[in-house]
């Protein structure tokens, strides 16, 4: 059974035709039985009717119409001008971007090439300078680049073999020079032996 408080809250919505059908039937049933709510419903209807009777429109002065149209025309002209400026900039944007990209690429390539340049060996330094710079992961070993060797550097025999070679003597055992080194040990004896020595040393 509906209470008067709820019925009062539904009255405006019902009078505006926005109350769902089921609730409207419940409200109508309550109003039929309750004199106080019947009076409240009539009062609400009168007030809404009065508000509905208030002026909802009024005459618009000519100056208002002209002023509004003028502002709108200025707005439309400003929009057209912005659109034209934007189109001009868009037409130039791609060539400018392409040019900028090309400049950046050229500068980047130039920087990379200057970083790849190997150090030229100084006279008297031989291979020591080259050995001092150990190869890194992203750089090839300097010993591999032989293009820039100074042709004027005099070839001097190092006093000691390079560490890599000294650590692996077996690398040179196949050399004919070393294979015949034993024979050379007797060279001095062969050279100095004469027939007058009595054949103390046999030839062989």
């Amino acid at each position: 059974m509906m209470r008067c408080r709820r019925a009062t809250r539904w009255m405006v919505t019902a009078l505006d035709g926005e109350l769902p059908a089921r609730r409207r039937r419940a409200l109508d049933g309550h109003v039929a039985r309750c004199p106080a709510c019947r009076h409240e419903m009539a009062t609400t209807a009168a007030v809404l009717q009065g508000v509905g009777g208030l002026a909802t429109s009024s005459e618009v002065p000519g100056r208002l119409e002209q002023a509004t149209f003028r502002r709108v025309r200025l707005l439309a002209a400003a929009e057209a001008e912005r659109a034209a400026t934007r189109a001009w900039w868009m037409r130039l944007r791609l060539p400018v971007l392409g040019f900028a990209t090309a400049v950046v690429a050229i500068v980047a390539v130039g920087l990379m090439r200057s970083g790849d340049r190997p150090l030229a060996p100084r006279p008297g330094d031989g291979g020591r300078r080259v050995v001092a710079q150990a190869p890194t992961k992203d750089k090839p070993p300097l010993v591999a680049s032989r293009e820039r060797r100074d042709p004027k550097a005099t070839a001097t025999v190092p006093a000691e073999p390079p560490p890599q070679l000294a650590a692996a003597p077996e690398l040179f055992m196949d050399l004919p020079l070393l294979r015949n080194m034993e024979k050379l040990e007797h060279f001095e004896a062969i050279r100095t032996t004469t027939l007058d020595d009595g054949g103390e040393q046999s030839n062989g």
């Binding site: 405006v12 609400t44 809404l48 009777g53 208030l54 002026a55 429109s57 618009v60 709108v72």
Partner: protein, 225 residues
């Protein structure tokens, strides 16, 4: 000019299903179907494509209602005209945000409500009670007196006018949102869901606003009812 953000004044019209105008198919999703059913939608679509004449037609059709609506929120006739002008400039500026699935009048009064409520919040605004009082020698557009079909004598007519003026004053004293909900709901073609959209609120909130507004008016008109 009322300071209002573009998004606040001219929102994207909602695409939820709503009461479609008579003659259009319920599932009409395209603007063309809505335009065929609602001439205001057709005018707005032409306005979106840049037709100045379409905008002028919309102005002439709706500016009287917008002006009267604005009068009930601002303190002076001149300011009401300025607000009306601002409303239609916003309509033009943000015409591309309008979606034909909703009524043009709903979208228009969403903008008008936002600007009017902003106007009310301005600190320098002073509500002049004499807006609803006739000034000497001034032609002021006055709304019709409270309808009274039984009024046949001058005395009854005068009483009806007095009641109407009292009602106008009471409406002017309502809190802005209650006032907006009450006035919008009395406009032709605006259902509660349209009023809710214009206020950026819900139907339930609109019902509550209308209930409170009506209770206030009933208390103020106790001597007349």
């Amino acid at each position: 000019m009322a300071t209002v953000s573009a998004d606040e004044a001219a929102p994207e019209s909602a695409e939820r299903p709503r009461e479609v105008p008579a003659g259009s198919t319920p599932d009409a999703g395209s603007g063309f179907a809505a335009a065929a059913a609602d001439p205001d939608v057709a005018l707005m679509l032409r306005c979106q494509s840049g037709e100045e004449a379409a905008f002028q037609d919309l102005f002439r059709k709706f500016s009287p209602r917008v002006l009267q609506f604005a009068r009930r929120f601002v303190g002076s006739e001149a300011r009401a005209e300025e607000v009306t002008q601002d409303v239609f400039v916003q309509v033009f500026r943000f015409r591309h945000r309008y979606r034909p699935q909703s009524r043009f009048s709903t979208w228009l009064f969403t903008i008008a409500t936002n600007l009017c409520l902003n106007e009310v919040r301005r600190p320098e605004r002073h509500l002049r009670v004499d807006l609803w009082n006739r000034r000497d020698g001034e032609e002021r557009p006055e709304g019709p007196p409270l309808p009274d079909p039984a009024a046949v004598t001058p005395e009854e007519g005068a009483a009806a006018r007095q009641l109407g003026q009292r009602l106008e004053a009471l409406v002017a004293e309502l809190p802005p949102k209650q006032r907006a909900a009450l006035l919008l709901s009395r406009m032709d073609g605006l259902a509660y869901r349209d009023v809710a959209e214009a206020l950026g609120s819900t139907e339930g909130a609109v019902k509550a606003l209308l209930f409170r507004a009506t209770q206030t008016l009933k208390r103020g008109l106790r001597d007349y009812l």
